[in-house]
């Protein structure tokens, strides 16, 4: 079936290695999102899976077949490209039918499958049009339809939403997810947008600089990032990091100190003497002495205010180059330059090794 396995896959251009031994298992029917910044190797990984790039080392399997030397057209995959790559001189119908015709599918079958795909994507009225006569959203749906109609083992999608406006992107995101759940075809989806990754993926593989940083469900990645990179990449606004000296507090717990930050975290034990503390916006709140578990206060100066209506994110500068993003329900009266005090919820903090950036084992952290 359509399971995909990357084993020790490497890719070099000359002496320059861009993918360093990628190991990744994608289950049959799974929606796997490859996410990472530009140059992280995610698109290269997808193109190697498609057969559009050769691999320098390792092995790629689709189902139980090693496909290293198999031509793209024989891999039984379909791909949706960032720029849609529709054939401009052909009608929407011919675009959708192209792959089936190349595979010598019987005419009646082609007609039925194209009509079905067009119906499921709302493309019926446009079948006689050419791509130049379609809006961006319609062209995007034709590109999806062209993949869907083929009924391949694996769908590959290379940032298919990046050319759409924000509203259409949200709408199409839902549509792709729905289609994938209907057909349950293994899907590998590349994006640099972590919101897309979080909302669409059954699992997410975070890549950075040609390496796989972490694979997991959206929840795992958000709650238990394996390292500082994943912590900072997943979540919006990003996790704030403060490198702090840690010592056992006299009355139990741990005392963290970094410039103006001086916090005692009850219930947190066993940290090394220097740690990187990851603070998600939602675990930093404006100081409330009556809160049962809030640790603080930490004083700082407001550096920016992002009012989103239902909530506000306040960037607070806490000395040197440290900044923590603090969450505030509803609107906030704070302005840049104001002094403010905030506290943190110790149980929601994440700790990383200050040198290696790797998450400290959960055993060393006692959740409060």
């Amino acid at each position: 079936m359509g399971a995909v396995r990357f084993s020790e896959v490497r890719k070099s251009y000359g002496d320059h290695e861009v993918v360093h031994g990628l190991d990744l298992d994608i289950a049959d029917g799974e929606f796997m999102v490859l996410v990472g910044p530009s140059g992280s190797g995610k698109t290269t990984a997808l193109r190697m899976l498609a057969g559009l790039e050769s691999i320098t080392g390792g092995e790629i399997r689709i189902g139980d077949r090693v496909v290293n030397q198999v031509a793209p057209r024989e891999r039984d995959i379909a791909m949706v490209f960032q720029d849609y790559a529709l054939y401009p001189q052909m009608t929407v119908f011919d675009n959708l039918a192209f792959g089936l015709r190349r595979r010598k599918t019987p005419k009646g079958d082609i007609e039925r499958r194209v009509r079905e795909a067009a119906a499921s994507l709302g493309l019926d009225p446009y079948l006689a049009r050419k791509p130049g006569q379609l809006s961006g959203g319609q062209a995007q749906r034709v590109a999806l339809g062209r993949a869907l109609v083929r009924d391949p083992q694996v769908f590959l999608m290379d940032e298919p939403l990046s050319n759409l406006d924000a509203k259409l992107r949200t709408q199409t995101r839902g549509e792709i997810k729905r289609l994938q759940q209907d057909v349950r075809t293994t899907t590998v989806y590349v994006t640099h947008d972590q919101v897309e990754a979080m909302t669409m993926g059954d699992r997410i593989a975070v890549m950075n600089d040609g390496r796989l940083e972490q694979v997991g469900t959206p929840e795992e990645l958000y709650e238990r990032p394996a390292n500082v990179f994943v912590g900072g990449f997943i979540g919006s606004p990003a996790m704030s990091f403060i490198t702090a000296a840690a010592e056992a507090a006299p009355g139990g717990g741990t005392r963290l100190r970094a410039g103006e930050v001086d916090l005692v975290l009850p219930g947190v034990e066993g940290l090394p003497s220097e740690v990187a503390v990851g603070v998600r916006p939602e675990c930093a709140r404006i100081w409330d002495p009556s809160h049962p578990t809030m640790a603080g206060p930490v004083a700082g100066e407001v550096s920016f205010v992002e009012a989103l209506g239902r909530e506000t994110f306040v960037g607070v500068h806490v000395g040197e180059d440290r900044r923590v993003v603090v969450h505030h329900d509803g609107r906030s009266a704070l302005l840049p330059g104001d002094r403010v005090e905030f506290g943190v919820l110790p149980g929601a903090l994440r700790f990383f090794d200050a040198q290696s950036g790797q998450a400290l084992a959960p055993a060393s952290r006692v959740a409060a």
């Binding site: 995959i77 192209f98 062209r146 083929r150």
Partner: protein, 272 residues
Amino acid sequence: MTSRREQSFTYALLGVFSLIALLPIVGIVFTALQQKGGGASFGSFDGLHFDNFKRAWQDGNFGTYLKSSAIVAVSVVGISTVVSILAGYAFGMMRFRFAQPLFYIFLLGLMVPMEAMIVPLYYDLRDLELTDTYWALILPQAGTSIAFGTFWMRAFFRSVPPSLVEAARIDGASSWFTLWRVLLPLAKPAVLTMVVLLFMWTWNEFLLALVMVTDEGLRTAPLGLSFFVGRNQADLTLLAAGAVIVAFPVVVLYVFLQRHFIRGMVSGAVKG
């Protein structure tokens, strides 16, 4: 927005350049239409006298010359177009060993003028017993035309989004199918522009025909025209009629393809 004054100036300038380009052409057509022995000068108009064309056609043997030119031009353009599309596709779309040096070798044909190769070429073709045949005109011109055509088509294929070809590959199309059915319909303006240019250059080639053929029946139109000029120095109207006859096929081809020609010349200049 351009101001009215700027606009008027632009039109005036364009008008001047159009006149510079058009006057000689109009002049020769008018001269060709003058009455025989009317004593009028170049470019003056004294009515429509089509007899000159008939006379020139018969006296100058232009029927034979145009036939030779047509055989040579159609063969050169046909061979060069097919080979240039294939070679341009390979250089523009495929990755293979020594692609770069091979492409530079192709470019040599574009850089070395016919004048520089004509003497060795003559001896080579004479050794092959090809002088005084159509092959002596077709093969060298096909060679230089393929050099240009490959360069031209490679530039076109390079401008095609790679994802289009990749999509076709994944959809199951072979390289051959991708070229002819996916890319070539998009290449129509580029191919037609190439056809017009190659046809024009081949049609107007003079030196090669002068050196390679002596047989009257193989002479091309420009060569025939030069002999015709030599024989009829005194008769201006007849010379003008001959010149119009020789230029006519290129003008006709250009008029039919000019819409594509302009599109082909500017394609890639702006993002489509």
